[in-house]
Symmetry: C2
Subunit: 66 residues, 2 copies
């Protein structure tokens, strides 16, 4: 089951990669899909608390589920 979250501050492919790396570093089994246009990140395979910490620590804004 995947969940989609609103994440602010991602403006280019480098940001998308940084968010993806932050999540998969914390949760190696997770799959991550970033949608820059919608400013969303869809994640499968880990829990919301960990995703929030990883995204905040990477300098982006975790704003909860879409």
């Amino acid at each position: 089951m995947s969940t989609t979250y609103r994440v602010t501050g991602m403006t280019c492919g480098g940001c998308a990669r940084a968010v993806t790396q932050a999540i998969t570093e914390a949760a190696p089994a997770a799959t991550v899909d970033v949608d820059l246009d919608r400013q969303t990140v869809t994640v499968e395979g880990t829990d919301e608390a960990l995703i929030k910490v990883a995204i905040d620590a990477a300098g982006f804004g975790f704003e909860g589920r879409v």
Copy 2:
């Protein structure tokens, strides 16, 4: 003493923030200055090995001293 490194893949302010956060999360005492035009990061207060690990883990390319 600060040292300047070449870091590839930073293309916007979100990338600059992500790199800064990655380094300061690993080394809270470090000061970090990102120059997007030159693709460089100038760091004071931590060692090169830690900076390399933090930048690589954040999804950017550490290419050593300028």
